[in-house]
Symmetry: C2
Subunit: 359 residues, 2 copies
C-alpha cells in the first residue's frame, strides 16, 4: 500500500471476539450465549414479516418506536420511549456513547479487568483513560471511583465481566453523585442473572446511562439488539450523534422481533431461573474439583484451578470439543470464563474436568 495512504489509516487494536466455530458437535461455553432458544413469541414477528415482505422495500422507522415503546412498557416506572436508545447490540450502544460523551480533556475511568472493549473504543476515539486495578479478590476498588477529582467519564460493568461480581446499586448512585461533571455508563449486560439494576435511578441521576442487551438473558445474540436507558436529555444527545452516523441502525425485522419477545415475561423468568440454578449447581461441583472463583451473579463463572494452569485447562477442554474463554492478560491468565449451559452440557463439562484434573 502507498505509504501516504497507509499513514491516513486509523491506528487500532481490535477487540477479539470469542470463537464462533462452524463445526458441529461442539459444546460452546465461550461467548456467554443463552443455551435456551428465544421465546416462541418471536414466531409472531417472523410471520408478520413473511405476510408482507413488500414492507422490506421501505426504510425502517429511524427512531425504532415500536421497540422503544415495548421497552418503556416493560420497564414501567415512569419511563417513556424518550428514555431509550437502541443499537446494534450493546457494543453499538456503548461505542456510540464513547463517541458522544467522552470528549473532555480529563481521562475516562474504568477497571483494569473488565469488558475489554472499553479500552478498544478508547483507542479508536482517542479517549484518554485512567485505570483502576481490581483488588486481590477481583473486586472494584471503590475509593478510586469516589475520589475528589474531575473525570472525563466513568464506565462500570455491573456485574463485572469476566469476574461475574456485582456491586450494590447504592454504590452506583454514590459514584454518579460524586462525579456530576461526567457521564457514568453502567454496563448491565448480565444484570438479569442476579445483579442489581440502576435503571430505576436514571431520572434521578442526570449523568447516569445504563446499557443492557437482548443477547444474554433474552437468547437473541443473533439479532444484535442493545439499548441504553437514561434521562431524556442524555438520550437526545446520544441520538443526535447516532443520527450523524447512521439514521437507520435497527432494521425492520429486528424492531418487530425484539418488541414481540418482550411480551413473554414468563418464559424469560423461567429460562433465567434455569440458568441461575445451573450456575449454583456448577459452582459446588467446580469447588469439589479444586476450582476457585469469584461469586458470579451472571451466566458465567470465572474459574482458576488450584494446580493446573488456565491455558492447560483451556486446551484440554478444547481437545474434548468444549470451548470456554481464556484471556491472555497476566492478571487473569490462570482463569477461564465458562458460560452456563444446559444441565446436560454442564454435566459433560464436569465429566471432562474430572478427567483433566485427575492427571
Amino acid at each position: 500500500m502507498n505509504r501516504e495512504l497507509a499513514e491516513k489509516i486509523r491506528k487500532v487494536t481490535p477487540y477479539t471476539p470469542g470463537e464462533q466455530p462452524k463445526k458441529k458437535g461442539i459444546i460452546k461455553l465461550n461467548t456467554n450465549e443463552n443455551p435456551y432458544p428465544p421465546s416462541e413469541k418471536i414466531r409472531e414477528a417472523i410471520q408478520e414479516i413473511n405476510d408482507d415482505t413488500s414492507r422490506l422495500r421501505l426504510y425502517p422507522d429511524p427512531d425504532s418506536s415500536i421497540l422503544k415503546e415495548a421497552l418503556a412498557r416493560h420497564f414501567g416506572n415512569g419511563l417513556s420511549k424518550k428514555n431509550f436508545f437502541t443499537g446494534v447490540g450493546s457494543d453499538d450502544v456503548l461505542g456510540m456513547a464513547f463517541l458522544a460523551f467522552f470528549n473532555g480533556n480529563e481521562p475516562v475511568l474504568f477497571p483494569d479487568i473488565t469488558y475489554s472493549f472499553y479500552e478498544v473504543w478508547a483507542e479508536l476515539f482517542n479517549v484518554k483513560t485512567k485505570i483502576s486495578n481490581l483488588d486481590e479478590n477481583m473486586r472494584l476498588v471503590k475509593e478510586d471511583f469516589l475520589k475528589n477529582e474531575k473525570l472525563g467519564g466513568i464506565v462500570i460493568a455491573n456485574p463485572n465481566a469476566p469476574t461475574g461480581l456485582c456491586e450494590p446499586v447504592a454504590f452506583i448512585k454514590e459514584v454518579a453523585l460524586a462525579h456530576p461533571e461526567c457521564l457514568l455508563i453502567v454496563d448491565e449486560a448480565y444484570v438479569d442473572f442476579g445483579g442489581e439494576s440502576a435503571v430505576s435511578l436514571v431520572n434521578e441521576l442526570p449523568n447516569l446511562l445504563v446499557a443492557q442487551t437482548f443477547s444474554k438473558s433474552r437468547s437473541l445474540a443473533g439479532l444484535r439488539i442493545g439499548y441504553a436507558v437514561g434521562n431524556e436529555e442524555l438520550v437526545a444527545a446520544l441520538e443526535a450523534v447516532r443520527y450523524s452516523y447512521n439514521s437507520y441502525t435497527m432494521n425492520m425485522p429486528v424492531q418487530l422481533m425484539g418488541s414481540a419477545i418482550l411480551a413473554d415475561e414468563e418464559y424469560f423468568n423461567l429460562t433465567v431461573k434455569k440458568i441461575v440454578n445451573e450456575r449454583e449447581r456448577t459452582k459446588k461441583r467446580l469447588k469439589d474439583l479444586g476450582f476457585s472463583f469469584p461469586d458470579s451473579k451472571t451466566n458465567f463463572i470465572f474459574v482458576k484451578h488450584e494446580k493446573l494452569s488456565g491455558e492447560y485447562i483451556f486446551n484440554e477442554l478444547k481437545k474434548r470439543k468444549i470451548y470456554v474463554r481464556h484471556f491472555k492478560a497476566d492478571k487473569i491468565k490462570e482463569y477461564n470464563r465458562i458460560t452456563i449451559g444446559t444441565p446436560e452440557q454442564m454435566d459433560k463439562l464436569i465429566d471432562a474436568l474430572v478427567e483433566i484434573v485427575a492427571v
Copy 2:
C-alpha cells in the same frame, strides 16, 4: 444538564433523513425506495429462520461470510470474499470508511451538491474538507479532482445525488491515479439504474473503494445492507476499524436474507428495467409540464419548474398526499427530488402536477 457534562458532548449537525410517514394512503416518492417488493427468494431465508429460531441465541458470524461469499459469486470477475466489507446500510459502510481512512492532515474533497451525509460524517469525525462546486449544469468540475495537490481523501457519488448525473468510469480511474496518496470512495448507491460501475477496477487501483447498497435496486431498505468492494488490503484495514467498534454488525437474519435474494438475478433485472422505463416515460411528461432536470441515470429525477418555486410544488404535492424530497440549500432550493414509483403512482404524480402548474 451540568455544564461540564454538556461540554463533553460531541458537537454534531445530524443528517436529516426523509420523512417516514406512518399514515396510510400516501404516495411516497421522497426517499428513493424501490416501488417493487424484494425477490420472493427472501421467503426461503425467512423459512430457514423460522425452522430453527434457536439459532438466534448464538452470535452471528462476525465476518458475514455467507453474505460476502454470495456477493463474490454475484460479481465474479476474480473478486473473492476478502474484497467485500458489509455494513448496516451503505451509511454504516461509508461512515466507517470516513473513520478508518480519513485521518490525514490534508482535506477530503467532495462536491457542494452531493449526498449530504458526507459533510455530517466529516464534522462527526473532525475531518477537514475541501468543496468542489458543481458547474451551472450541475456537473462535477473534473479539474478540481485532477489537480496536482495532495488530498486527505476523495468522495464521489456516481451517479451523484440528488442530481442523478453519472460520470464515466474512465474519469473515476483518472482521479484514483491522480491521487495515490489518499483513498477515493465511489458511492454507487444508484449505479444499477444506468450508471457505470467502478467495481471491476478495485484490484487494479489500490486506493479505490466502491460502496453499494441493497436498499435501492434490491428493494431492501428495511434490512439495512450495504457493502464496499476494494482490494484485500483496504478491506482488511476497514475490517480492523470495524472490529474496534462492533464485532457483530450484521445480524443473522440479514445475512441469510441478503444472500438469498442475490440468487434471483432475473427478478432484479426485471424490476430495474421497469423503473428505468418509467423514469424515461416520466421525463417526457415532466418536460411537457415545464419542468427541467439533469438527465438522471438513477431511480429519481431532480426537477425544477420554469415558473413555480420548489417549495411551492413540494407543499402542493404534500397537500395531495404525494411526498417528494425538497432540500433547503440555496443552490438547489428550486428543485424537488422525485423518486420513480410504479406507473400508477407516477400517473397520479403527473395528474397532481398538471393541476398544480395550471394555477
